[in-house]
C-alpha cells in the first residue's frame, strides 16, 4: 500500500518568508509525527498528533513553528518568517496508534532558506 508522502520534496525560500510543508500519512494511522534533520545531525522531534488528543508540541523550537492536522489525516507544518537556521530536512512519520508503535517515515521535504 501507499506509504507516507510529503510535499514538496524540495523547497527553496528567502529569509523572512513563510513556508508550508505537507504530510499525508498512511491511511488508518492515527498518530502522526514531525521531525527535523539538520545537516550532520540526527532527527529532532518536533510535534506529535494522536487521534483527537491535544498534540504534543514540546519539540517545536520557536513560536514561528506550528502544525495542524485536519480531519485526523493530512498535516501541515508551517514555518513563519523563515531563518537560515531553519534549513533542514523535515520528516513526517505515522503509526497505527501512538506509544511504541512502529513509526513509518516519509521521504522528507528538504528546505533551504537563502
Amino acid at each position: 500500500g501507499a506509504g507516507v508522502s510529503q510535499s514538496p520534496s524540495n523547497k527553496v525560500t528567502e529569509k523572512g518568508k513563510d513556508v508550508e510543508l505537507r504530510c499525508d500519512p498512511i491511511s488508518g494511522h492515527t498518530a502522526l509525527y514531525w521531525y527535523r534533520q539538520s545537516l550532520g545531525q540526527g532527527l529532532e522531534f518536533l510535534i506529535y498528533f494522536q487521534g483527537n488528543s491535544a498534540p504534543d508540541k514540546s519539540g517545536l523550537p520557536s513560536d514561528r513553528f506550528s502544525a495542524e492536522r485536519t480531519g485526523g489525516s493530512v498535516s501541515t507544518l508551517t514555518i513563519q518568517r523563515t531563518q537560515q537556521e531553519d534549513s533542514a530536512v523535515y520528516l513526517c512519520a505515522s503509526s497505527l496508534g501512538g506509544g511504541l508503535k512502529t513509526q513509518y517515515f516519509g521521504p522528507g521535504t528538504r528546505l533551504l532558506v537563502l
Binding site: 506509504g3 540526527g42 529532532e44 522531534f45 511504541l100 517515515f105
Partner: protein
C-alpha cells in the same frame, strides 16, 4: 537528559565482510531501543527494536543487535554486508513509557561498501 551517541560518522567495509555499528545511550532505566536505516532519497525504515526480554534481537535484511546494559550499548551487526546495505544508519531511544514516541536519535553512521 537522555542522549544517543553513534561514535562512527563513516564506516567503510568490503562486500561480504562483517559489520558492527556502535550505539551508546545515556538513560537511567532500560530504554526502548531502535535501529533505523535511511537509503538515499528514502524515508527511514525500521530495522529492529528492543523493548525487553532476550537481549539479542533479530531484524530485517539479516541485521541483529545486542542490548548490553552494563555497557549502555545497542550495537548493530551483520555477518556479511551486501552492496545494497550502503546507507545511513540511525540508532534511537524511546525515552520512557509516557513519552516513548519522542524518539531521540543519534547523529547517524554512514556505511560505505567497497566492491
Amino acid at each position: 537528559a537522555q542522549s544517543v551517541t553513534q561514535p562512527d560518522i563513516h564506516i567503510t567495509v568490503s562486500e561480504g565482510a562483517s559489520l558492527e555499528l556502535r550505539c551508546n545511550y545515556s538513560y537511567g532505566a532500560t530504554p526502548y531501543l531502535f535501529w533505523y536505516v535511511q537509503s538515499p532519497g528514502q524515508g527511514l525504515q525500521l530495522l529492529l527494536k528492543y523493548f525487553s526480554g532476550d537481549t539479542l534481537v533479530q531484524g530485517i535484511k539479516g541485521f541483529e543487535a545486542e542490548f548490553k546494559r552494563s555497557q549502555s550499548s545497542f550495537n548493530l551487526r551483520k555477518p556479511s554486508v551486501h552492496w545494497s546495505d550502503a546507507a545511513e544508519y540511525f540508532c534511537a531511544v524511546g525515552p520512557s513509557m509516557d513519552s516513548s514516541y519522542k524518539l531521540i536519535f543519534g547523529s547517524g553512521t554512514r556505511l560505505l561498501v567497497r566492491p
